[in-house]
Structures are given as C-alpha cells and as structure tokens.
C-alpha cells in the first residue's frame, strides 16, 4: 500500500517517523483499549481504536499533516506516535505524542518530538506549536519541559483540565 498524499519519512539517530499503515492496527488496538489511552480520550473499544488509526490517515489527507507512526529503526518495532494533530474543534494545531507501554525511559519521546517539531516548522510552516497536556500527565509535562516548551495557560476542554505548553519555533530546545 502506498499513500497518495505524501506522508514524508523522517529519520533520527534511532527512530523512523513514517506513514501509518494497516499493520499498525494491532498495536493501536493494544494501546487504544488500554488505560494508557486515557490522555487521548480513551480507553476505546476495538472499533474506537481502529478509528484512531483511520482518523490519523484521514487528517493527513484533509490537512496535509498528522501523526507519524514511530519505529525503532534497528529492529522496526512500532513504539508510538508523534505528529501534529488538529481536530476541527481544537483551538490550534497541536504537537502531540504517545509512546506505547514499555518504551518509556529511553529518550525516544524526546528524540521523536524534536524531529517532528523541526519538520513541522520547516515543511508545514507550523510553529511555534502548542501541546495540550493534562496536568496529571507528569511524564508528558516533563517531556514538554525537556524539549524547551513553556507553560502558557490553563484551559478546560470537554470538562478536562489542560495546560497549554508553547514550543520554541526553532525546532531546537530553548
């Protein structure tokens, strides 16, 4: 399968950011049906997890940017997602990320986020980008701070509290 609208591949030292594909579904279902998907509106049933993958691809078609699937390059293991999402009712495009269970603590998130941010800046013309983070999601808050994003304001979405973190535009940590 090849995607019609170009979804670019982005390489980092250890990771490959690539187009989502059908074989991502099993990992998406594992993630989407687990409590780890709480911060992206889950947990979902199988249909909801399938929809997460389809929405991702549809958003690339509709907006020209979206979530990449992130593989560890050396063994092609699909370990999470990073990219720019912009649901219709969001205030602005969001730099978002999520690692699957077992892949935290290796700096993969940081590496993926910096690469995605730089690509979004130079190729999509997006930035300085925001990230909307649930204040109880301490791992994501720490990652945002580590890559140079700064707290800008608090807001509620669907009754859930969020902190908006603003990234530096350069793509490099501030």
């Amino acid at each position: 399968m090849t995607l019609p609208f170009s979804i670019p591949t982005v390489m980092t030292d250890r990771l490959t950011l690539r187009a989502p594909r059908e074989s991502d579904l099993d990992a998406m279902i594992d993630f989407g049906t687990s409590p780890r998907s709480h911060y992206v509106g889950g947990p979902f049933n199988r249909l909801g997890a399938w929809r997460l993958l389809m929405i991702t691809i549809g958003q690339w078609a509709l907006r020209g940017y979206g979530y990449w699937s992130v593989d560890r390059t050396e063994d092609s293991v699909f370990l999470g997602r990073v990219g720019v999402i912009f649901p219709i009712d969001s205030p602005e495009p969001e730099l978002a990320w999520g690692l699957f269970d077992g892949f935290e603590g290796h700096g993969y998130g940081t590496e993926a986020v910096i690469a995605a941010r730089k690509y979004a800046d130079t190729h999509f013309g997006l930035g300085p980008l925001a990230s909307f983070i649930d204040p109880s999601n301490t791992r994501s808050l720490a990652l945002a701070t580590r890559v140079g994003a700064r707290f800008e304001r608090a807001f509620d979405e669907d009754g859930e509290p969020h902190h908006l973190y603003r990234h530096p535009k350069s793509g490099a940590p501030a």
Binding site: M1, T2, P4, M54, A61, L62
Partner: protein
C-alpha cells in the same frame, strides 16, 4: 490511492476535502441525520469524517463528496463505507436538505456501483438501513436492490439490501 473523480450527467464525485466539513457538519447536527447515527456534535462529526476519508489509502475505496457540476455546490456524499465492525463494504449516501428531491443520491449511487464493479469486480454491494428510514429504503429499491434477510447488518435491526452488480458493465 485517493478517490478518482467521476462524472454523471449532473454530478461530480470527487475526493473529500476540508471545505466539505461545514456542510457535512450542518447536516450531521440536524434531525435529518437521525438515520445516520445523528444528530452529532462537531467533534464526533470530525472523527467520523476523518476516519472515513482515511479509508481511501488503506482500502482503496471510501466516501465521494458530490458536487452539482453546474454550480460547483457541495450537495452530499455517496460512497463505500467499511468500518471494522461492518460485515462487508456498504454503499451509503446522504444529501443535504437544500438539495433533496432531485434524484442526486440515486444518480451518484449508480455511478459508484458501476465504479465498484469495474474497479474491484465485486458481485454485490449492500446497504444497511434503519427500518424506520423509509426514504432510503425506497431509494435502495428503486436502484434495483432487494432485501436479503440472510445477510447480517451493522446491527440486528438493520434492513440489509443487496444490490447485484453483475449486470453492470
């Protein structure tokens, strides 16, 4: 792949785009959408719209946005839907209220059936229709569909209508 552009006498069927969202959301938020799982808020409509558009590259079929060729106005959607909980690909349609009564859904649906036959060689397409949605059932019959009680729908109450594509070119 993305949707090819198809033409009928009056209509242009094409790949959906972001500009289609507002008229689609207006339809989905109205009582007209009760047979399509509505009324729905904008967030839900976005999720469904984006996920259906995402079918194209993964499955090679999906929704076509339908324009009135003469005016370029968006009038609705006809396409082949296949969420993971559907037993098989489904032919579906909706027309926005201001464009109803002009045979748009029928004209576009026939074109999509022909395209599906030519592209995939399928012998049939089905509709899953709520039994209370008399208007869509009537249209499906007018298109040559027959109720097939041996087939499963999206849920137990759906009327499943089978369209034989084998007579199409």
């Amino acid at each position: 792949m993305i949707a090819p552009t198809l033409h009928t006498q009056n209509l242009t069927l094409r790949m959906p785009c972001l500009a289609d969202f507002e008229p689609r959301a207006e339809f989905a938020s109205s009582n007209r959408s009760i047979w399509e799982g509505g009324p729905l808020d904008r967030h839900s409509t976005w999720r469904i719209f984006a996920s259906e558009v995402g079918q194209w590259p993964l499955l090679g079929y999906g929704p076509f946005s339908v324009d009135d060729t003469a005016t370029g106005a968006y009038v609705g959607e006809v396409g082949i839907y296949h969420p993971s909980d559907y037993p098989e690909p489904e032919l579906g349609w909706f027309v926005i209220p201001t464009a109803e009564g002009r045979g748009i859904a029928a004209e576009a649906a026939l074109r999509v059936m022909l395209w599906a036959r030519q592209t995939f060689g399928w012998d049939r397409l089905v509709n899953y229709i709520d039994p209370m949605n008399a208007r869509s059932i009537a249209l499906a019959m007018r298109l040559g569909g027959v109720v097939d009680e041996t087939l499963s729908g999206q849920d137990d109450t759906d009327v499943v209508i089978r369209h034989d594509l084998r007579g199409l070119a």
